[in-house]
């Protein structure tokens, strides 16, 4: 692994940039860590959902009498058990969602909209009895035709999912319902004028399938409703404050009456930023008077949690013979699943952001189909749009006989580049990433027969947001960092290192805990690569608060003004004399000097840490079978400053692995009636370790001016380039254009045969 630190001199950091032992490692490898399904309570019962066997149907009647009569059944919950909610846009971990849609996704309101849509829930004294009860429920359906693709959904005579949904964003308000929830345009300059200047223009439509985040731990929770006091939810989530806010809103509860505890989390990647079980489990608990545990089966995770959008995206790019891109245009169609709210606009905002081009225009369509409501998936919306754009960029470079990295360098976004969504970029590291890619040993290596190479860029915003941290100092000078950001990618270690660097106290002296919603002020969820950036800033603020108090205590001990106290390497120094007091000495006597010492850092992090990535992929294609093997892969990305390089490399490798899976094999397979055919890891093929070479990584460090240590988020950008890097490598190997993902053996073989 190479660390290309071109812009910073990190040698002055003592703790940041070191590879400290991960604090949660021992618990996780020994099985002691407690995940979503690991909490059991006295008297606890089990909840299970009845799910739709149809993709689109009216519910004519439901008969629960036999289920209710079954011994051991404690509660049956339907949509009618929820308090009434109306259409209202609310902030959730997903950004914003319509509260009514959220309720109707939890449980169908008279109409099922996808295979696996929840119809009701049963709680019983055992999981087996709950499942037996589900089998006793009679539901009468009127099956409706399903739409499973944006083309079908946008057809003139398409079955409409929502009779009161009218397309937003049109010049004139339509008077007929549509499956197109919204149309949004983003523009910069004049694309017609830009294309008129171009010597070469390439345009194609690309398809990306529905894909799942593939987190290993299923959704799970244990809850206890207490109508007189404090209700509790224990769950696997990326944002327990968001779970609390959404659940409380849906159940008309006060935030103070609901405590949410985040368990350890076995992967989320954006898919655990909303609720599927928790409000239902609380209603079961309320009805039965018992604690309730719910665990999704893998089958349910695929059918009824939120996957990433399938898309059909048309891209057109023009360039001059000298390699200057003159115009970029896109028409993006994103499946939202059964309810509006795909990341189409984020696709439009990111598709062309790696390029400093005067003329851009993107239309973004948010389209509902009879599939589960999509959820965020690492850089939501960006991989699909940037895939299409990067494929065209590579094809243009080939047509112009320009090296694909040189072509990107010639047109690369940099500080001062105006984005299509408005503001100009601050200091960013795309050029440094491209140069690192060009100079990498990988790029110098020659290809062999039947091999091809692809290069791709990727961009994500990495917005800050709200984070709260308390740093409690112990009497021996050690400390506990209390944060509210669930640790998915190693943030506890990063928080330790940032506290240690700020205070000048060894990282091992700190323990980081993720507190529940009662023990720390609000935190936005762990998502959007915001945690090391924003919660890290809160840690720095809390540590600075501790230093301020330490200096005040030392001044009071020495009876001098605090202005003459300096703080160096964890020691207070009287610069007017020779006295010194260490943090441990100050903490040991804190009761005598004013009480225990605790620092606070409650911030709304300004700015963002945009990160660019550049990936190189070499593949070898078996032209008789269409099978693709990735033979070498390098992920290069700007981390700003890698607080813990091992975790940063892990993020790069994980993003690359998921993106390669998206490019090569992963897809939801539905039959023509909308029934999901592959809801399990045997048939939904994520890459295994044996499928991939070692993912080589290069950490580029161009410091983010908006962060005290220069941090940029690193979790999102790395999943964007693999789609085009891999697919273009396949295209290069078979000398034929690839447009549709995945590049699975039958699909690749079909392209080979069509072009032979």
């Amino acid at each position: 692994m190479k660390n290309t630190n071109e812009a910073t001199d990190a040698s002055h950091y003592k703790y940041i940039g070191t590879r400290s032992i991960r604090p949660d490692g021992f618990e996780k490898v020994t099985g002691r860590a407690n995940y979503g399904a690991d909490l059991s309570l006295p008297g606890m019962i089990w909840g299970k959902m009845l799910r739709s066997p149809h993709a689109h149907a009216m519910i004519k009647s439901i008969d629960i009498s036999k289920a209710e009569a079954l011994a051991g059944v404690m509660a049956v919950v339907t949509y009618n058990d929820f308090p009434s909610v109306s259409s209202e846009i609310v902030a959730t971990g997903e950004g914003t969602e319509d509260l009514l849609d959220l309720a109707r996704n939890l449980m169908a309101d008279g109409k099922v909209l996808y295979h696996g849509h929840a119809i009701l829930g049963v709680a019983a004294i055992s999981r087996q009895i709950a499942e037996q009860a589900l089998a006793l429920i009679d539901v009468e359906y009127e099956v409706l035709p399903a739409v499973l693709d944006v083309r079908d959904a946008m057809a003139k005579d398409a079955p409409v999912l929502h009779e009161k949904m009218y397309t937003e964003g049109l010049a004139e308000t339509p008077n007929t319902a549509s499956n197109v929830a919204s149309v949004v345009e983003l523009k910069k300059g004049d694309v017609d004028a830009g294309f008129a200047q171009a010597d070469v223009i390439v345009e194609r439509e690309f398809y990306t399938p529905t894909v799942h985040q593939g987190y290993i731990e299923p959704h799970a929770c244990t809850v206890r409703y207490d109508e007189h006091g404090q209700s509790m939810v224990w769950c696997s989530t990326q944002g327990h404050f968001d779970v609390r806010a959404t659940t409380a809103k849906l159940l008309h509860m006060s935030l103070s009456k609901l405590k949410v505890i985040a368990s350890e989390i076995g992967g989320g990647f954006g898919g655990k930023t909303t609720v599927y079980l928790e409000p239902v489990a609380l209603l079961m608990s309320k009805k039965s008077g018992r604690p309730v545990k719910m665990i999704m089966d893998r089958d349910e995770v695929f059918k009824a949690s939120g996957p990433g959008s399938a898309t059909r995206n048309w891209i057109k790019i023009g360039a001059k013979n000298d390699g200057t891109i003159t115009a970029m245009q896109g028409k993006l169609h994103y499946e939202a699943g059964a309810f509006k709210g795909s990341p189409a606009r984020l696709g439009g905002m990111t598709a062309f952001t790696p390029y400093d081009v005067e003329n851009m225009f993107v239309e973004c369509y948010d389209v509902v189909v009879n599939k589960p409501k999509v959820a965020a998936y690492r850089a939501p919306g960006a991989p699909q749009a940037e895939y299409a754009a990067e494929m065209i960029v590579s094809e243009l470079a080939a047509r112009l006989a320009i090296d694909p990295i040189d072509f990107r360098l010639q047109n690369a976004a940099k500080e001062g580049t105006k984005t299509i969504y408005g503001p100009k970029l601050k200091r960013v590291g795309l050029v440094e990433c491209l140069e690192a890619a060009k100079n990498s040993p990988h790029y110098q290596q020659a290809l062999k027969e039947n091999q091809g190479r692809g290069v791709s860029s990727g961009f994500w915003f990495n917005i800050g947001g709200s984070s709260s941290v308390t740093l409690n100092m112990n009497r021996d000078g050690t400390g506990t960092i209390v944060e509210g950001s669930p640790d998915i990618g190693g943030s506890r270690a990063s928080m330790q290192l940032m506290a240690a660097e700020t205070l000048g106290i060894a990282a091992e002296s700190f323990k980081t805990i993720v507190a529940d919603t009662e023990n720390i002020a609000h935190n936005d969820g762990t998502g959007g690569s915001r945690t090391t950036f924003a919660t890290g800033m809160a840690v720095v603020e809390a540590a600075k608060d501790v230093i301020r108090q330490m200096k005040e205590r030392a001044a009071s001990v020495w009876n001098v003004n605090v202005d003459v106290i300096d703080w160096v390497d964890g020691v207070a120094i009287n610069v007017g004399g020779s006295e010194k007091l260490s943090a441990a000495e100050i903490c040991a006597t804190a009761d005598r000097t004013g009480g225990q010492i605790s620092g606070q850092g409650n911030i709304n992090a300004r700015g963002a840490g945009p990160s660019f990535a550049v990936h190189i992929c070499d593949v070898e294609v078996d032209k008789e079978t269409g099978k693709v093997d990735v033979v070498r892969y390098t992920a290069i990305q700007d981390a700003g400053k890698a607080i813990h390089p091992s975790y940063v490399e892990g993020q790069y490798q994980g993003g690359a692995a998921q993106g390669i899976g998206w490019a090569l094999n992963e897809e939801y397979v539905y039959n023509d009636k909308g029934i999901l055919q592959n809801p399990g890891f045997l048939d939904y093929r994520i890459p295994l370790a044996s499928d991939l070479p070692m993912i080589e990584t290069v950490i580029v460090e161009v410091p983010n001016p908006a962060h005290p240590f220069g941090v940029r988020g690193v979790g999102e950008s790395g999943i964007i380039p693999p789609l085009a890097a891999t697919a273009y490598a396949v295209s290069d190997a078979i000398n034929a254009p690839i447009t549709d993902l995945p590049c699975s053996p039958p699909n690749v073989l079909a392209v080979i045969q069509a072009n032979s």
């Binding site: 523009k187 954006g270 939501p380 994500w460 915003f461 709304n604 300004r606």
Partner: protein, 80 residues
């Protein structure tokens, strides 16, 4: 006067893609916009991301605005 630049969805609503406002903090911007265009609701502006002089700020109520500031509204950005 600070310049406010709108995304497509607000432009379609009010018929303008940018306008000038006299504001000291971001709250003044919102008050001015809603005063001029009652069809713009505070709640819908609240749900958008904002960049003030190219710095993205979530929930920027009291963020200072300079007389030559550029204020961009755009789609709320989250992540995975």
């Amino acid at each position: 006067m600070a310049r406010v630049i709108f995304p497509d969805e607000i432009e379609k609503l009010i018929g303008e893609n940018n306008l000038m406002v006299d504001a000291r903090v971001f709250r003044d911007v919102v008050t001015e916009l809603i005063g001029r265009y009652p069809e713009l609701k505070e709640s819908s502006l609240d749900k958008m991301a904002v960049a003030i002089d190219d710095v993205i700020v979530v929930d920027p109520l009291l963020e200072p605005i300079n007389s030559d500031s550029d204020i961009y509204f755009f789609h709320f950005v989250t992540g995975g």
